[in-house]
Symmetry: C2
Subunit: 434 residues, 2 copies
């Protein structure tokens, strides 16, 4: 680890402050100038085309098998191979792309293998998502939302025992950049007893971490928490767009439905579990008085290193700010250490009843607000349900999102003695209801 | 319609009281003696092998295109073709299989095209299910469950405006016959403040109608209720197995999760919208005082003929009853007219926010209890949450399901002047927790 922790790439844009350093090497699915979707790896400002590299004979053994499993425009089969295949591919990619690589000439001679990410490539979903589960394990968010309803008792009695989650809609998950059509639906106007129908008036974002399932399990067989980390392929950013007015009216007794299912945006690059290894931390100590997790959620190794130190940022760029060339305004800066449960605990809980997880399933963490005002992950929390509007640079105010507003999620990991890595962006611009 | 409403088939087991008459012709996916899964049509006690019939040149034009879309072991592409393809295939199948068919000799000469359903064929899921949505539109069930919590005010204020539903787990939907492993999970024992972990002690079934989505919609485009019926490919039976103790502890605030996701069983045959045409009814009048549906849910044609008159039955066969050769005991006999919303209204509501539906998505109706005691669709209702156990033939008692108990769902449609049709069975036997 130490040897390569600062190694540089001959792809010079990958060095320095890039999200996509030689230590990151996230996988994704792209098309180049309208080609069929295929898999690639982000390196600096380029995509390393895995299919072309395979054809050029740059892989062998387990790394070759890993690339072969990533053909066809989805990474599901690659995810299903598990950790060993990811490690083999990562090692080979670091050989190929590091500063001293003897193969640099061969790769550069066929320039089509390194494609400019920003201007020529379109990103797709990295996998066919079988099932999407949205958790609610950002405890500060749960407290803040709970306070709006129950000021004295914000967390329900089950919160500190059960990693709360619910099934989300898989068919409307889209990669960064896809526009967000304002949904219509039923809402109950304040003071009324009969609902109205129309465009959502309280549209919101939620800053979440996405978790990609790697190897699955058979129905009926739980994944022990001690093995659960092995079932996680990687991570992304996730914006759980939310129509708060629709949600308030529909969600009793069975949970959110149309208030969330109109779209969910994710960043398209899968940051692997291996790339995040240096940024693992001990699970933060539970506050005095909090119960210990039940045994099926408790593993010493997971407690010692199962949390992730990822800085998460959410920014807003309005139509007016774009016109006036103002930079995007930061709405919140938080961290994935605000998860009350680790990713491994989510896998263990989700499967403990025998529920089958499959490669390419996606989890959302829930909104990852921090305890400070500057660390909130939704407008619902920032404006306290619209009661306290915020003023933006340029003088606009917002209670909830307006048409033309673009939300940008970013994430980075930094640690003394290690190269930084980033997640790329998850963007979505709100467009008017149809 | 009238001419063929009593037409008989030369497959003699299809005449009389068969579920699978010439007027039904449900589609499914089967394998024969271990073959790869392929599509077929149930007729009497046989499966008509569509792939073999296609190879023999028995289809042309739109019917041929319909069969071609049903190859490969899933009906998704066939569902996506919509109504016209289903009608063309249905007409051709009725020609081929009716008593006077000139092609009977040709079909019989190649016996492999008619396979004995019960003894040689295994049924699979008919489609790859992208998303599964479970509704809650059986109003008698909603009242009964609500009464357990709120005796004076069983229905929440949104119930008569919003077709309540939530996202379910697609990965654990299984065809009839797959065993039901008792789930483990967290529960809060009565009188305790801390949860325990262990096998579910309050395992239950739910009698539901399944609805298969045909043609989908683009994300962002709602399906109007006037067109929604065109987006439904067919129907099946659905058992929404439920762990009541896990559910009670986990479901606040985001709805049921692990209490339902361990398995959902469906009957494997897709009874088409066309086969159900004679059994359509006017939507039952809303009781005095109930609100009118909002405009996006209201369509005159749907109100006049959007409800379905399907008799639904649930039976229990315990280990001890099997040993003593006792017949299965009827737990409830209900009807799909207990749906407060039509299938078309479910489609319109689900997509009104722009949510994308896709061919092969599945809806559950919610438990379809009737107002009488003999019409209840779950043990939760029959025993009032376990308070009033029932006695079975042979003297056993049940509050909830025991290991070895098998639940059998059946459904039939009957109408004066028309041949009856049935759905086949949806069976599942509970096995001990692992």
């Amino acid at each position: 680890m130490t040897q390569s922790s600062f190694a540089r790439s001959w792809v010079t844009s990958a060095n320095g402050h890039s999200d996509f350093t030689l230590q990151n090497l996230p996988l994704g699915v792209f098309s180049h100038k309208g080609s069929a979707p295929r898999s690639g790896v982000a390196i600096g400002e380029h995509i390393f085309d895995l299919e072309a590299a395979l054809a050029a004979g740059l892989f062998e053994g387990e790394a070759k098998a890993a690339v072969e499993a990533s053909l066809g425009g989805t990474l599901n089969a690659f995810f299903a191979l598990g950790r060993s295949a990811r490690v083999a591919l990562r090692q080979r990619l670091q050989e190929l792309l590091s500063e001293g690589s003897t193969l640099r000439g061969k790769i550069e001679a066929q320039g089509a293998r390194l494609l400019p990410l920003a201007c020529e490539c379109e990103m797709h979903l990295p996998a066919k998502i079988g099932d999407y589960t949205d958790f609610y394990v950002g405890i500060e968010h749960a407290k803040n939302v709970g306070k709006l309803f129950r000021p004295d008792n914000p967390l329900l009695p089950n919160y500190k025992y059960v990693p709360i989650g619910y099934h989300g809609r898989a068919s409307t998950i889209r990669p960064s950049g896809v526009e967000v059509r304002r949904p219509k639906g039923q809402t109950l106007p304040a003071g009324q007893t009969e609902p109205s129908f129309g465009p959502c008036a309280r549209l919101d974002y939620e800053l979440e971490l996405g978790i990609w399932v790697g190897q699955g399990n058979d129905m009926g067989s739980a994944i022990p928490v001690s093995e659960a980390g092995e079932h996680i392929a990687g991570f992304c950013l996730l914006n759980d767009w939310s129509a708060r007015d629709i949600q308030a009216w529909e969600y009793q007794p069975l949970g959110p439905f149309l208030s969330k299912s109109f779209i969910t945006s994710i960043s398209p690059w899968v940051v692997t579990a291996e790339a995040l290894e240096p940024f693992r931390r001990a699970q933060p100590a539970r506050p005095e008085g909090d119960p210990q997790p039940l045994a099926y959620l408790l593993d010493a190794h997971d407690q010692a290193s199962g949390a992730l130190d990822i800085e998460l940022e959410v920014l807003l760029l309005t139509e007016s700010m774009r016109e006036r060339n103002l930079p995007a305004h930061r709405l919140g800066l938080s961290n994935s250490l605000n998860m009350y449960w680790t990713a491994a605990q989510l896998v263990a809980h989700h499967s403990v009843n025998g529920c089958q997880l499959q490669a390419g399933d996606l989890f959302g963490s829930g909104t990852l607000s921090g305890p400070q005002r500057s660390q909130l992950g939704s407008l619902l929390e920032i404006t306290e349900g619209g009661k306290h509007p915020i003023e933006l640079p340029g003088g606009e105010i917002r209670r909830f999102l307006e048409d033309g507003d673009e939300i940008i999620l970013r994430a980075r990991c930094a640690r003394e003695g290690f190269a930084s890595i980033g997640f790329g962006e998850c963007r979505g611009k709100v467009v008017a209801a149809r």
